[in-house]
Amino acid sequence: MRYVKLPKENTYEFLERLKEWGKLYAPVKVSEKFYDFREVDDVRKVEFNYNRTIMPPKKFFFLPREKLFEFNISEAEYRETIENVEPFVVFGVHACDIFGLKILDTIYLDELPDKYYKVRREKGIIVGISCVPDEYCFCNLRETDFADDGFDLFLHELPDGWLVRVGTPTGHRIVDKNLELFEEVTPQDVCSFREFENKRHQMFRYHEDWADLRYLLELETEHPMWDEQSDICLACGNCNTTCPTCRCFDVQDVPNIDGNTGVRVRRWDSCQLVRHGMVAGGHNFRPTKKSRFMNRYMCKNAYIEQLGLSYCVGCGRCSYFCPAGINFVRNLRVILGLEEATCPPRVSEEIPKKGFAYTPSVRGDEL
């Protein structure tokens, strides 16, 4: 891998130059507590030290609402309406979110690739950034705290700049084209990099082995945690909407007002909503809130053979943004026997009782 150094004073210039490669999206502060990926005009507004964005970067590749086809109803004809996607740059993606995209790739780019996702994935340039964990992060337990690939460039924080890892040919081209902004990596920088990584490792809240979690979840389906926690759950779907690996979608045909034309749209769906498992005739394969709650835990901890990981990347969004204060990690630790089941949800008091991700301002409509 190629390494270069970006001195701190060149950071904003580098961001400015990134705009030449396409629209620049980066994390910005959207409210007192929350950050989100937005299109950036003024690069000075970019946040480098954010904990997590509301929406994961999946929203750029798998759109919250997307037109698939246009229909002519009387002729029974349809037309593909895939737009001409312009290249774009997503700056400041954390390692866990990069893994989130890699997990989506295993679904959407398998033997029958999803055309709409694929074209955006080809056009999107990913610039990663190093981060330090807060109390909600558990990416170390999911082994997603350090991305080896899946990015074009990855910036690691140094005291006086950034250590840049170059991941793809596009990354090389970006560096080569702006070579005057970069410097060689010195032994001192390597030292600082090591120091940063050590510090980061120690900052994680939990250092434990979750290897048998998958089996215990299956064996402990009668555990009282399931009843207790699914009872608190509001079944709002916030956890799904903010999850970087949730990929469920719903498809609808929406006729236009003329009655003869229409569009087929797909939009994000949530397995916590009651109609997720409902089939024609009214039978519901997951009729209770508890069955849907358990379904999410099983899905997120299932094993992906291609990557050797589970579907959860440990970003902590589902706990951070849960309006009911349900803590995913705590519940898993209860199952693992590492925490008392009777403990109250530790985070419920700290979480603001607002901030549903699915409010119009943050659901990514402006994309």
Partner: protein, 296 residues
């Protein structure tokens, strides 16, 4: 033990975009029962019509533009090239509109999807087909395929059940075949579970497993019906000496995409996580045992 997926060589319209649709024309419509109709379709494009094929047990996504999409199992034999049949129950928003279709109308179809029954692996074996209610539709495809390739299979028994006599799917068709079938070691049992006035056999499908003319040691069993029936049928089959490794079931779930992306048909627990549309809808008995939640 999973059954490999089968992708039709004639499915050229989906090569680039897996959600792409092919236009089909309704050729005939039969009212089978009060709620179910049988539709005969042909692809408009003659090349697709000739090359499009499927494996019994696979399903297609049928689109009524502007209304929506529904997954429906194909119920005809893949040996009848150029045409396919769907048996559709009026159960929801889309199927209600489907029931209004007349010969000559055009709709859109994509697929086939899923793995289907491994009919090639079954060659040389006896076949026992156990259907209840709408479950007759996918098994009719297996049955007709086996009849078209009669020399490949041993004895065949088809147990077709419904609640009431008037709901027995393909009743007349199967009755008409009975005489010829018996000469060919094919046994057809049509039974009802709740109809006191029914003149024929009465009882749940498991009651007739003992009457099958199949050799339990070498029989492929295919089951399709409402989730509730599977457990009793399994018990009875194993009691009669049928081998668990030869038991296959086909399942129903909500399917939006048909190719393992939309996530609605997910089933299982953290160690065994399946998409019914992609890993199924046909599963083996061992899949059922190791994947909790499949039958609920």
């Amino acid at each position: 033990m999973t059954i490999p997926r089968f992708i039709s060589p004639g499915n050229t319209f989906a090569e680039e975009n897996p959600y792409a649709l092919g236009k089909v024309r309704v050729l005939r419509v039969y009212q089978l029962t009060e709620l179910e109709k049988l539709f005969l379709f042909r692809f408009e494009d003659p090349t697709i019509a000739e090359n499009w094929t499927f494996r019994p047990g696979q399903f297609v996504q049928l689109t009524i533009p502007g209304v929506g999409e529904v997954p429906i199992s194909v119920c005809s034999s893949p040996m009848r090239q150029g045409f396919f049949e769907l048996c559709i129950r009026k159960a929801g928003r889309v199927t209600t509109v489907v029931h209004k279709l007349k010969p000559g109308d055009t709709v859109l179809v994509r697929g086939p999807y899923g793995n289907g029954f491994p009919v090639d692996q079954w060659e040389g074996m006896d076949l026992l087909l156990i259907a209840a209610g709408l479950g007759t539709a996918p098994l009719r495809s297996v049955f007709l395929y086996a009849m078209d390739n009669r020399w490949k299979y041993g004895n065949i028994t088809f147990i077709n059940t419904a609640r009431y006599g008037k709901d027995l799917l393909f009743y007349k068709e199967l009755e008409a075949m009975k005489d010829i079938a018996e000469a060919e070691n094919v046994k057809i049992i049509q039974s009802v579970t709740r109809d006191p006035d029914w003149p024929g056999p009465k009882g749940r499908p498991q009651k007739f497993i003992g009457e099958a003319n199949t050799d339990p040691k070498n029989t492929a069993v295919a089951i399709c019906g409402p989730p509730r029936m599977y457990k009793d049928v399994f018990e009875s089959l194993i009691e009669h000496g049928y081998k668990p490794e030869n038991i296959y079931v086909t399942l129903e779930r909500m399917m939006k995409c048909g190719i393992g992306k939309c996530g609605h048909c997910n089933v299982g627990t953290s160690t065994s996580w399946k998409y019914v549309c992609k890993d199924g809808p046909v599963f083996t008995y061992f899949d059922i045992v190791s994947t909790p939640g499949m039958l609920d």
